[in-house]
Symmetry: C2
Subunit: 363 residues, 2 copies
């Protein structure tokens, strides 16, 4: 057989411009984290790799404020964690309740529908807040095995209150699943003290690592549900029975080959978690709040209106600006990118037409 | 609420020893590819990122020897490509035929079973070769929509012949899915000329990039099947309708947000594909064959027996050695690692008890 020649584009060098990543994510990656990700790799099943994974687990436990043994990093982005959470804790036909007030709830509802769950949604306009009363009413009505809420609704710029919801979920025998992709490290979350059963985040937001890994943690209640199911999760790759062994969480003496983890991605995730541990969570939260406050004031002084009016509900990591009438947001964002190398982004899903901007460069 | 302190392990620096990665994968990553992966990142939806993804597509088309438009890299390892191929081309209840002669067939059978396919397997001992006559008989009997075969059966060290099977699959209205994770770049494959309908590989084997991305390509026949299905694929993350748009393959003017791709992983994948394009496929195949021949002779001169006796069926990238009687393979591998920093590995799944070794360091 005859070999077709290569396209000439592959003989050109890789070109990567510098950009200030002020969109909701990914964020600019600090040199220390880039250097960790650029280290020569070792095998995914070497003892030294297990040590690095053990460290990552400790780093996630700190960042999540949890003692959960069942804590790992997914080999994938936040969507991999989303699918992992739903695929493992829900069986086809079971009831799932999803709070939709932006794009992330829409995504989880779609994921749960595809795997055959009986999905109920509570809908508010982007940035809307669900009261605990509303949530309890829906829990009582739909008796879901899982309730999903986004803590950091980046498409609206909202930090949704979480207090008390975990208790309501326990009362109604529901697992409480919280998405902190956009908020972890920027806005306080206490997985154990807030009775959150399943929590996940992404590497590429306030953690400042490249995209491609996603910390996730399951508490004992969640483990009871997911390890006592009648059917196998629909994905072999995201099956926590296997991932738990790969991360050394199942008490077995040997970790068996399941899939090949992103070795370089784990190096950079460990480094970013180490930076958070050195800095301290409270300082990270304070710093985000301080810089966000400075940004908010500057924007308001320019006459711009922020989309989330109540300061206490604003996400410190992602600020959303209402587009002034008569302006085209696409044109503005293109202008800023072209003249200042700065990324700001439009809304996503239900919030298309707003813009997001990060409050800080964190290195 | 009170903040728990961090574990002291996170205050220690990252430690990564140097290892010669002579196992079946991942491979040592050349400095050029590490440097590409360590570049400062840009946004996953920036025009410059689309250019890099376009280049990757061209690089995969060359490596696969295909003109298929529907060519992308998965944001995940080879298992992500495996699930993507099965989830998209098969609907629940449809018949799937899997050739099992090592671990990879077992994995695909499990993946297809979980998503509700009607799975039939053809089984041989590790390293066994299926004749085209046997395959046609099974195609006629089970009338599968998909037939899976591993080209590079790394758990046995086998390069399975592929010629003629694509034609049989067309005759029986079956899609031909081939796994080249362990073989691509080392052992010749011609996707278009061999009538392979779906082909995938991993980044971390002969391509020498870090694990975490997985090239995959679908031809027009495969697209006809997967884009005319009655049900949605069970995974939103692996849905080719969305991935196709993300990779600019669906003819739509805009690429919409689906998930956040592993930006650094795409940088390093592009660099590894560029090295292959510069070197040329024929030279890469020749080089692997030459070095493997040298290794085989050296091993046989030492009195060791290779597991695959027919030289023409040996995988040039992964050589398997039959364990001499009276020796403990685990102890031998530990000795080699301890004294020479060299990774060799045991078998996987059905071939546990054999050992694998790569023939070369490719930089």
């Amino acid at each position: 057989m005859s070999v077709q020649v290569t396209d000439v584009c592959m003989l050109r060098p890789l070109e990567v411009p510098f950009r200030y990543l002020f969109g909701p994510g990914p964020s600019n990656v600090p040199p220390r984290v880039l250097a960790a990700g650029g280290r020569g790799i070792i095998g995914h099943l070497h003892p030294e790799m297990y040590e690095i994974m053990n460290d990552i687990k400790k780093g996630i436990q700190y960042a999540f404020q949890t003692q959960n043994n069942m804590t790992i990093a997914m080999s994938g982005s936040g969507h991999a964690a989303m699918e992992c959470a739903v695929f493992n804790t829900v069986e086809p036909g079971e009831s799932v309740l999803v709070a939709v007030n932006g794009i992330w709830g829409e995504r989880v509802a779609e994921i749960a529908e595809r795997m055959g769950a009986n999905v109920h949604i509570m809908v508010k306009a982007p940035g809307g807040v669900f009261s605990n009363g509303e949530i309890e009413k829906a829990l009582a009505k739909h008796k879901p095995v899982l309730f999903f809420l986004t803590h950091g609704e980046s498409s609206a710029g909202l930090a949704h209150p979480v207090d008390g919801i975990g208790d309501l979920c326990r009362k109604h025998n529901t697992l409480f699943l919280v998405d902190t992709v956009a908020s972890l490290g920027a806005s306080p979350i206490f997985m154990d003290q807030q009775n959150i059963d399943i929590l996940y985040t992404g590497s590429q937001k306030a953690l400042n690592a490249p995209p491609g890994t996603a910390p996730i943690s399951f508490n004992e209640r969640a483990c009871q549900k997911m390890f006592n199911r009648k059917t196998k999760p629909v994905s072999y790759l995201f099956d926590m029975a296997h991932l738990s062994n790969y991360w050394g969480n199942d008490g077995q003496p040997a970790r068996l080959y399941h899939h090949t983890g992103p070795v370089s991605g784990f190096f950079s995730l460990r480094e970013s978690l180490a930076i958070l541990a050195e800095k301290g969570l409270e300082e990270s939260w304070r710093h985000h709040r301080e810089v966000a406050g400075y940004l908010w004031k500057g924007l308001e002084d320019m006459g711009l209106k922020l989309f989330i009016q109540n300061k206490d509900l604003r996400l410190p990591s992602v600020t959303t600006i209402a587009i002034p009438e008569g302006y085209n947001w696409r044109e503005m964002l293109q202008y800023i990118m072209k003249h200042h190398n700065m990324e700001m982004t439009g809304g996503l899903g239900p919030s298309t037409g707003m813009v997001s901007v990060r409050g800080m460069l964190k290195f």
